[in-house]
C-alpha cells in the first residue's frame, strides 16, 4: 500500500514537472493583457451601449477596409446585441447601396439596403482587397473574436475550464489595436509593414488604424459617453466583434443556467432514487 502511494505520488510529480517545464512557442508575441469584459463568466452580458459605440468605431474606421459579411443589418436590432431599434436599422440599411438582380430585363441593379441584407463589403473580392492594401487582404471581422487566440499554457488552461475564461479573442483584438508602439531599435522593419507589439512576428500590414479622439462619442447632451481614447475604442470594438462572432451568447448562457439547475435537481433526485432502491436490496445470503 505504502509503495503504491509513494509511486503514485512520484508519477504525479513527474507528470506535473513534464507539463510545466517546457517554454512557450517561439515566435508568438507577448501575452495580451486581460480586459475586464462585461460578457465574461456564466452571467456575462453584452453592454448594449458599448456594442453601439463599438459598432460606431467599426463603421467609421474599420469598415473602410474590413468586411463583416456574416452580419446582417437586422442583427443589430436583435436581442442580446447592440439593441438598435427596428427604425434605426431600417434607416441605416437604406443609407447603403446594395446590388440586386437580375431584374425582368436581365440586368443587375442597385437598390437601397434592407434590414435583411448582409453588411456590404468594402471590396468586390479578396484580390481587390489585397491590391488596395499593399498585398495583404484585410480579413473579414465577423468571426475574428473567435478566430484568434493565444497560448494560455499549463496549468492556466486547466483553470480556465473552471473559471470559464473564453475571452482570448477580444483580449487579443484590444491588445492588437493598442499595440502600435515604437519598434525596438534593433528591429528590422520591412517596407510597408508596421511594428505591432502583439501581432505574431510583429510586422503587420495594417497601419495604426485609430487614434485618440478620432471617433466622436458625444451623446445627446453634448458630453462624451465614454473616454475618446484608443484604449476605449479598442475595448468597444473588440466587444462589438465578440458579439458579431457569437451573437447568441446571451441566449446560450441563459439557457445553460436553466439547463444546469434542472440537471442538478434531476441528478439529486436520481441519486436518492438509486439510494432507496439499492437499500432495499437484501444481503446475498
Amino acid at each position: 500500500m505504502k509503495l503504491t502511494k509513494l509511486l503514485t505520488a512520484g508519477v504525479f510529480t513527474v507528470v506535473l514537472g513534464a507539463l510545466s517545464a517546457p517554454a512557450q512557442a517561439s515566435e508568438a508575441g507577448p501575452t495580451p493583457p486581460s480586459v475586464n469584459w462585461s460578457f465574461s463568466g456564466p452571467f456575462g452580458k453584452f453592454d448594449p451601449q458599448q456594442l453601439q459605440r463599438g459598432f460606431k468605431v467599426y463603421r467609421e474606421v474599420c469598415a473602410a477596409c474590413h468586411s463583416l459579411k456574416y452580419v446582417t443589418f437586422r442583427n443589430l436590432a436583435e436581442p442580446g446585441g447592440p439593441l438598435f431599434t427596428a427604425g434605426q436599422v431600417k434607416a441605416l440599411a437604406a443609407e447603403y447601396k446594395v446590388q440586386d438582380g437580375p431584374n425582368d430585363a436581365g440586368e443587375m441593379f442597385e437598390r437601397p439596403g434592407r434590414p435583411a441584407d448582409h453588411w456590404p463589403s468594402p471590396f468586390p473580392n479578396d484580390n481587390a482587397a489585397a491590391a488596395a492594401n499593399g498585398g495583404k487582404a484585410p480579413p473579414d471581422l465577423s468571426l475574428m473574436a473567435k478566430a484568434r487566440t493565444y497560448e494560455r499554457g499549463f496549468p492556466t488552461f486547466v483553470f480556465d475550464m473552471f473559471t470559464q475564461f473564453a475571452e482570448q479573442g477580444p483580449d487579443y483584438i484590444h491588445a492588437l489595436l493598442t499595440g502600435y508602439v515604437e519598434k525596438p531599435k534593433d528591429f528590422n522593419l520591412p517596407d510597408g509593414g508596421t511594428y505591432n507589439k502583439y501581432f505574431p512576428g510583429h510586422v503587420i500590414a495594417m497601419p495604426k488604424p485609430i487614434n485618440d479622439g478620432q471617433v466622436d462619442y458625444k451623446g445627446p447632451d453634448g458630453k462624451p459617453q465614454a473616454p475618446e481614447t484608443v484604449d476605449q475604442y479598442a475595448k468597444d470594438v473588440a466587444a462589438f466583434l465578440m458579439w458579431t462572432a457569437e451573437p447568441k451568447m446571451e441566449a446560450r448562457k441563459a439557457l445553460g443556467f436553466r439547463a444546469i439547475i434542472f440537471l442538478i435537481l434531476l441528478a439529486g433526485l436520481t441519486y436518492f432514487a438509486k439510494k432507496r432502491i439499492w437499500k432495499k436490496l437484501p444481503d446475498p445470503a
Binding site: L3, T4, L7, T8, V11, F12, V14, V15, A18, L19, A21, P22, A25, S26, E27, P42, Y70, N75, P139, S142, L143, K146, A147, R148, T149, F154, D160, M161, Q164, F165, A166, Q168, G169, P200, A245, P247, K248, A251, R252, K253, L255, G256, F257, A259, I260, L263, I264, L266, A267, T270, Y271, A273, K274, I277, W278, L281, D283, P284, A285
Partner: protein, 425 residues
C-alpha cells in the same frame, strides 16, 4: 446468460405478437431480467453514457445535415448560417461539436476501466475486440466530421492526415499514392474530398451503431466483469436484475455526465476547438501549427516521435491496433487490478504516459518535446509487449475473494465496524 425472470405474455395482443416476433421477451431478458454483478462501481455506467452520446450525435447530426451544405464554396458559410439563422442552430452545432469530445472522454474512461479490471480476458476477447473496432470507427467518424465545417484546421488537418497514407509507397510503390488520390478524389484536398467525407461521416455512425449492437450482444452473452474480476458463480447471490438496479445507477451516471456536457456546451463551447477553424479554409495559407483534435493527440505525438514517415505511420496505427491483442498479451490469471499490486503501479504510469503524450501532441515537434515523446512512445509499447506479458508470470497477486457475494459481505462488515481509522492517514 440466464436471467432473473422470464417474460410471460398475458394479454391477447402480446401473446399474438410474441408468437410472431418475440421482441417483448427479448427486451425483457436484456433490459429487465439480465443479471448484473451486484458490486459494480460507477465506472460501469460509462457504457450507458456512451450509448446516450451516440444517440445525441446521431440526432443532432441528422438535423445539422438538413442545413449543412457539403460544398467547398458554401460549407463554411452554411455552418455560420446554422449558428446564426437556424432556430437553436447554435445549440445543435455546439452539442454536436462538444458531443464528439464528450464521446471521446467517455470512451477513454471506458477503455481504461476495461484495462484496469482486466475486462478483456477470456471469455470477453470478442467483446473487447468489438470495442476496439468501435473506437476505430469513432476516430474515423470524428476525423471526417471535423473536416466538414471547412475551416483552416479542417482543411490542413485533412491534408496532413490523408497525406500520411502516401508513406505506404515505401512498402509497395504506388499503393500509398493510390490511397491518397482515392481519399481526395483528385490531387489535393478539395470539393470531392469534402463530398466523400460528408457521405462517409453520415454512414459510419450507423455502422458504429451496428457494431455497438454486436458489442452489447457479446456482453449479454458472457456477462459483465466486475471490480473483483471473479466470475459470477451464483446468479441469485452474485447478481441483481438489470431493472431497477442497474437502470437507476446508469441513470445517475448519465445525469452527472450531462452536467459536465452542459458546462462545456453552454459556457465554454469553443474550449476544445481550435481558433483557426473559425477561419475559412484557404489552400494558400498554412496555419502556424497544425494540430488535430485533442482526442487524437496521444497518437499524433507517437506519429511525430518516429523520425521516419513510414515508421511514424506504422507506430501510430499500431498504437491503436495493439489494443486488440491485449487479451493475449496480458498473461496474468487474475483479472482485476485491485488484486495486482505491481500491475497497478504500471497501469497508472501508463495512464500518465498517455496524458503527457496527449500534451506533447499539441506542442511543436522539436528538441525536448520530441525526446520526451520518444521516451513515452517506447514506454507505451513496452507496457503491452514487455510489462504485461512478464508481470503475469512474476507478480504475486493478492488473495481473491471466493465470490462476488463474499466480497460484498466483507465490504459491508468492514463498513459496519470502521476499526482502522488510520488507513488514509
Amino acid at each position: 446468460m440466464e436471467g432473473h425472470s422470464v417474460y410471460v405474455p398475458k394479454s391477447g395482443f402480446t401473446k399474438w405478437l410474441e408468437a410472431r416476433l418475440p421482441i417483448i421477451s427479448l427486451t425483457h431478458s436484456s433490459a429487465v431480467a439480465y443479471p448484473v454483478p451486484r458490486n459494480l462501481n460507477y465506472f460501469w455506467t460509462f457504457g450507458a453514457i456512451l450509448t446516450m452520446m451516440l444517440v445525441v450525435q446521431i440526432v443532432t447530426g441528422v438535423v445539422l445535415a438538413m442545413h449543412y451544405v457539403p460544398n467547398a464554396k458554401l460549407a463554411f458559410a452554411s455552418v455560420e448560417a446554422i449558428m446564426r439563422d437556424v432556430n437553436f442552430g447554435w445549440l445543435l452545432r455546439y452539442m454536436h461539436a462538444n458531443g464528439a469530445s464528450m464521446f471521446f472522454i467517455a470512451v477513454y474512461i471506458h477503455i481504461f476501466r476495461g484495462m484496469y479490471y482486466g475486462s478483456y480476458k477470456a471469455p470477453r476477447e470478442v467483446l473487447w475486440i468489438l470495442g476496439v473496432i468501435i473506437f476505430l470507427l469513432m476516430m474515423a467518424t470524428a476525423f471526417m466530421g471535423y473536416v466538414l465545417p471547412w475551416g483552416q484546421m479542417s482543411f490542413w488537418g485533412a491534408t496532413v492526415i490523408t497525406n500520411l497514407f502516401s508513406a505506404f509507397d515505401e512498402i509497395i510503390p504506388g499503393v500509398g499514392t493510390w490511397i491518397v488520390t482515392l481519399l481526395w478524389g483528385g490531387f489535393a484536398v478539395d470539393n470531392p474530398t469534402l463530398n466523400r467525407f460528408f457521405a462517409l461521416h453520415y454512414l459510419l455512425p450507423f455502422m458504429l451503431a451496428g457494431v455497438v449492437g454486436l458489442h452489447i450482444w457479446a456482453l449479454h452473452h458472457v456477462g459483465q466483469n466486475n471490480p473483483t474480476g471473479v466470475e459470477v458463480k451464483n446468479i441469485c447471490k452474485d447478481t441483481v436484475p438489470f431493472t431497477p438496479y442497474a437502470t437507476v445507477k446508469d441513470a445517475v451516471g448519465v445525469v452527472f455526465f450531462l452536467i459536465l456536457f452542459a458546462w462545456f456546451l453552454f459556457y465554454i463551447p469553443n474550449f476544445m476547438g481550435h481558433a483557426d477553424n473559425y477561419i475559412e479554409a484557404n489552400p494558400s495559407v498554412t496555419p502556424a501549427h497544425i494540430v488535430p483534435e485533442w482526442y487524437f493527440l496521444p497518437f499524433y505525438a507517437i506519429l511525430r516521435a518516429i523520425p521516419s514517415k513510414l515508421g511514424g505511420v506504422l507506430a501510430m496505427f499500431s498504437a491503436v491496433l495493439i489494443l486488440a491483442f491485449l487479451p493475449w498479451l496480458d498473461t496474468s490469471k487474475v483479472r482485476s487490478g485491485n488484486y495486482r499490486p505491481v500491475f497497478r503501479v504500471f497501469f497508472w504510469l501508463f495512464v500518465a504516459a498517455c496524458v503527457v503524450l496527449g500534451w506533447l501532441g499539441a506542442k511543436p515537434a522539436e528538441g525536448g518535446y520530441t525526446l520526451a515523446a520518444q521516451i513515452l512512445t517506447v514506454f507505451y509499447f513496452s507496457y503491452f509487449l514487455i510489462i504485461l506479458p512478464l508481470l503475469g508470470l512474476f507478480e504475486t497477486p493478492r488473495q481473491l475473494p471466493g465470490s462476488i457475494a463474499e466480497a460484498v459481505l466483507a465490504k459491508k462488515a468492514k463498513r459496519a465496524a470502521p476499526a482502522d481509522a488510520s488507513v488514509n492517514g
